[in-house]
């Protein structure tokens, strides 16, 4: 399907699996006008290496906060977040984060934006550029390396943001409503693209969304959140690449929707 050969996918069978997450009894609150507002209460979740996990929930249920805790942008009040059995302390290149708004730097070209993500790598400049070029091919942005972000459509900008997040080869890719700002058609197309990229990369991916169909199309595991807590964890039986019309998805969708309405 594409010409990219990710070294990790070749080694995947022999190398020890990385990118497993354990979230244990995590609490998090914010101070708002002097009052403590609890956002996450005793959240526990185990994610196997290479899994695609979708987190669904209404706005304000704490799903984005959970993602930011895993990314290391915020710190939990109590509880543990372990990546490969090591506690997360601040951001790290083993975790990539994609935001709802692409957050590309407008003053850098697409290529420079992705290159910046490689600034901690010791590779030679030519190797870096080659890697950026293959990442841009992976996300379908061939020929746009020299474009500035304002010259791209919303979908293309988000593709560039995905390439940037993948550049440091994170074990875990965190996606915070990555397609939320896109129109419906672009959204469907990028869902398929995300699935293709995930199949090519096989890193752990955790995506927050409030689109139940999107969660079901991409996730091996669906985490349904109600404000502050995990209401249920569902396993999706069908394999990837997935058919949107798969009849096995319909009862799951009904269950998720009823949980969301109950919350």
């Amino acid at each position: 399907m594409n010409a990219i050969i990710d070294p990790r996918s070749v080694q995947a069978d022999s190398a020890p699996a990385v990118g497993g997450l354990a979230i244990r009894h995590v609490h998090k609150g914010f101070d708002i006008d002097g009052r403590k507002l609890s956002v996450l209460e005793d959240v526990s979740l185990t994610i196997a290496p290479g899994q695609f996990v979708s987190i669904v929930g209404a706005s304000g249920c704490g799903k984005s906060t959970l993602l930011r805790l895993i990314a290391g942008l915020e710190r939990q009040d109590s509880g543990d977040i372990l990546l490969n059995e090591v506690p997360v302390a601040g951001p790290g290149l083993d975790r990539g984060l994609i935001f709802q708004d692409h957050r590309l730097f407008p003053w850098l070209t697409v290529e420079q934006n992705v290159l910046l993500a490689l600034s901690n790598s010791d590779e030679a400049a030519t190797d870096k550029r080659a890697r950026v070029a293959s990442l841009l091919t992976l996300v379908g942005l061939d020929g746009f390396a020299q474009a500035f972000p304002h010259q791209l459509s919303g979908g293309m900008a988000q593709r560039a943001a995905i390439a940037r997040a993948l550049a440091p080869q994170p074990q875990v890719l965190l996606l915070d409503e990555p397609l939320g700002a896109l129109d419906a058609l672009t959204r469907l197309r990028l869902q398929s693209e995300l699935q293709r990229i995930w199949l090519a990369q096989r890193s752990t991916m955790i995506m927050v969304t409030h689109d139940v169909d999107e969660a079901l199309f991409l996730g091996d595991v669906i985490v349904v959140m109600q404000p502050g807590r995990i209401a249920r964890i569902l396993h999706v039986p069908s394999t990837h690449p997935r058919d949107r019309a798969d009849p096995a998805l319909a009862p799951l969708k009904a269950e998720i929707l009823s949980l969301l309405h109950a919350g």
């Binding site: 951001p91 790290g92 975790r95 990539g96 708004d101 957050r103 730097f105 940037r164 440091p168």
Partner: protein
């Protein structure tokens, strides 16, 4: 042009007619557009010429243009104009560099560290109210009327606009961009170079434009007021003392043209540096 696009020629005759109305070549359009800016200066020169030909006293106030032309040729052949213009230009640009860089440095520090802002803010706000040439008596007392004194006054003029604009620019740094920097584990230097500096750049360049104008005006001002050494202001000062109004006029024109040129160069640099913006 839009008509041609909407109604493409369908017959030979029609096409022939269109050829008569071919748009003029682009270079001609550009030339005419440029030339429009020359209409008023030419009218002004004509009015000047008319005023100078009324009588002898008017001819003293409005030096006849042929005399001005003669003085220009003299100043050019002796190299006087070039030396003095070069001296003023060098003074303005050195002052811009010294004052401007200190302004950017302090402005970025004030934006980055609240303590620096609280320490320097009130004092600098008060200093800013004093026009750059208002320091001239004190600076003259401390440093005399030599090059250091002139340079300091020009630097002060360039300092304030860049302090203010770079402070505002650096304070605009967006949390969402800084967060990306954290996720990508950018070093402090790279965060500055690739996030903070580009964020502040449009504002800094606005400051450079103001500082350049202030530095140029102050350069001429200090040269006029001190009246020593080389410089267009000194040349004007000497000419005024000698009643040589032709040279005074030539100095005024040179000052205006050079300031105009500096601004033009800056706007080209600006367009190049900010080409990533949606509206250039």
């Amino acid at each position: 042009m839009s008509l041609i696009a909407e109604f493409p020629p369908t017959s030979f005759v029609y096409a022939d007619r269109i050829e008569d109305h071919d748009p003029p070549p682009a270079w001609l359009v550009a030339l005419v557009k440029r030339a429009r800016g020359l209409v008023l200066p030419l009218l002004l020169a004509a009015a000047w010429h008319w005023a100078s030909s009324i009588d002898a006293s008017m001819a003293y106030a409005f030096v006849p243009l042929d005399q001005v032309w003669e003085r220009l040729l003299q100043l050019l052949s002796t190299g006087e104009l070039a030396i003095n213009a070069g001296s003023s230009l060098g003074r303005a640009l050195t002052g811009l560099a010294l004052g401007g860089l200190s302004g950017i440095l302090l402005g970025s520090l004030m934006a980055g560290f609240p303590l620096v802002e609280r320490l320097f803010g009130p004092l600098l706000q008060a200093f800013r109210q004093v026009p750059p040439l208002g320091w001239l008596p004190l600076v003259g007392l401390w440093l005399g009327s030599g090059e250091e004194a002139k340079q300091l006054l020009v630097a002060v003029a360039a300092f304030h606009p860049l302090l203010l604009n770079s402070y505002e620019g650096f304070a605009q740094a967006e949390k969402k961009h800084l967060e990306v920097g954290r996720v990508l584990m950018l070093s402090r230097w790279r965060s500055f170079r690739f996030i903070l500096l580009p964020t502040a750049l449009p504002s800094i360049l606005t400051g450079v434009g103001q500082a350049l104008a202030f530095a140029w005006i102050s350069t001429i001002g200090v040269e006029l007021l001190f009246g020593t050494g080389a410089g267009l202001g000194s040349l004007m000062h000497t000419a005024q003392m000698a009643g040589d109004m032709g040279v005074v006029l030539l100095c005024v024109i040179s000052i205006g043209l050079m300031g105009y040129g500096l601004n033009l160069i800056l706007s080209l640099v600006r367009a190049r540096l900010l080409r990533w913006r949606v509206t250039g």
